[in-house]
């Protein structure tokens, strides 16, 4: 009996709730707001306690990232990029550096720029670029996110690049298990037909002109120069490898494929709760609107249709958003 009363009190307009379902009253909506704030605070604090229960499941293969990248290039009439093992090694070094130093940026906290990993791996570049992604569950969603960003898209569809290096790494960033994708682009000096200059000179140019006219390289946020244009007479012969050769599992953090991590995804947890709460409110607003219209109950309240429309948009956003960040 009490249960029926409570259901009726919370879900239907009646005298006990002043003709407004209790669930739709400001006090109840405040509770929902508090619930979300507590949830997000918990998700933020959990990693700091040392508990490793949060993470993003992923199943990403290097080959698929390369294939999808070349597929996008082909659609734009561009030549495919050749997978280069030296470049892949540079990508792995960059990914390991991010995990070891716990940062998510093009430039490390100690100021190390992405181009250092190219040269450390032994790749002397004429052009170089870097795209980063994390928390994506599959390669196609990461590629789609890069393609949706003008600067990342420019990197992927640049005719200046001839080679690509990919590293997929599983690691812990800020206490959350995640999967990183490091995508490096380059054209080695050996492939360059232009006049050459000493390497030292080339680096000087890079530093003096942070954002170069022809650069495509980068994504906005961190202060990384989008593109590096360098020329040198010394060159390395890129060791392009067939895709299958790169499929073998790398040593440490670098992996050609990362299989699922069974941890709680902060995004999925938030998304599921959002959908339940918003769906519930839309349902109760609808019931309320129908009953009030039918019974012609006079009351002072906002427009039910407006609230349903607004919450419907929030629901649509919750449904279209996907986990994953790019840089």
């Amino acid at each position: 009996m009490l249960t029926l009363y409570l259901i009726s009190h919370y879900f239907f307009p009646q005298q006990s709730n002043n003709n407004r379902p209790k669930l739709l009253q400001a006090s109840s909506i405040f509770l929902f707001i508090a619930l979300f704030i507590i949830l997000q605070t918990s998700l933020y604090l959990i990693p700091k306690t040392g508990l490793r229960v949060l993470g993003y499941a992923a199943n990403i293969s290097v080959e698929e990232v390369v294939r999808l990248t070349n597929e996008k290039r082909a659609q734009s009439g561009l030549a495919p990029l050749t997978l280069n093992s030296t470049l892949s090694n540079a990508a792995r070094m960059k990914g390991e550096d991010m995990i070891n130093k716990d940062y998510w940026a093009h430039v490390s906290p100690d100021g190390t720029e992405p181009w250092k990993f190219f040269t450390d791996a032994g790749y002397q570049y004429r052009y170089a670029g870097e795209n980063l992604a994390r928390d994506f569950s599959n390669p196609s969603s990461a590629i789609d996110a890069w393609m949706a960003s003008p600067t990342h898209k420019d990197n992927m569809l640049s005719s200046k690049y001839q080679e690509i290096g990919i590293a997929v790494l599983e690691g812990d960033l800020a206490g959350v298990d995640t999967t990183l994708i490091v995508q490096l682009f380059g054209t080695s000096l050996s492939a360059s037909t232009q006049a050459s200059v000493p390497v030292a000179h080339a680096e000087e140019i890079t530093e003096e002109i942070p954002v170069i006219v022809e650069e495509e390289v980068v994504p906005l946020e961190p202060p990384v120069e989008p593109v590096v244009v360098a020329q040198a007479e010394e060159s390395l012969t890129p060791t392009a490898m067939p895709l299958l050769a790169l499929a073998k599992p790398p040593t440490t953090a670098g992996q050609s494929a990362v299989s699922s991590i069974t941890r709680i995804s902060p995004f999925n947890a938030t998304r599921n709760i959002s959908i339940i709460v918003v769906g519930l409110l839309i349902m109760v607003f609808t019931i309320d609107g129908i009953l009030v219209a039918r019974k012609r109950i006079p009351r002072v309240a906002g427009r039910t249709f407006a609230h349903i429309s607004f919450l419907g948009m929030i629901l649509a956003i919750a449904l279209i958003l996907r986990a994953g960040r790019i840089l």
């Binding site: 400001a26 909506i29 405040f30 929902f32 707001i33 979300f36 704030i37 949830l39 997000q40 998700l43 928390d135 996110a145 890069w146 949706a148 960003s149 990342h152 902060p266 995004f267 947890a269 938030t270 998304r271 959002s274 709460v277 918003v278 409110l281 002072v300 309240a301 906002g302 427009r303 249709f305 407006a306 609230h307 429309s309 607004f310 919450l311 419907g312 948009m313 929030i314 649509a316 956003i317 919750a318 279209i320 958003l321 996907r322 986990a323 994953g324 960040r325 790019i326």
Partner: protein, 86 residues
Amino acid sequence: MKKHATHIPHYLSLIGIFAVGLIGFLLFSYDRTFQIAITIAIAISYVVWGLVHHHIHKDLHLSVIIEYVVVAALGLVIVFSLVFST
């Protein structure tokens, strides 16, 4: 019936605001800052719409204002939570 008819232009404008916001969210799916800006703009537009609409219909009361503000705040908190956990 007449009362509902007078609401239609208002509702169409409201749906237009939401549609533009949703499209912006899709188009700038890579830009978190822009998504946050869009969400704030829509929430404010929604509250302003409520104020103007009820003022025109001469039924604007404090409880109504609170209702729109609270629903808008819930929407903001949900979208912020989602965007920052991606």
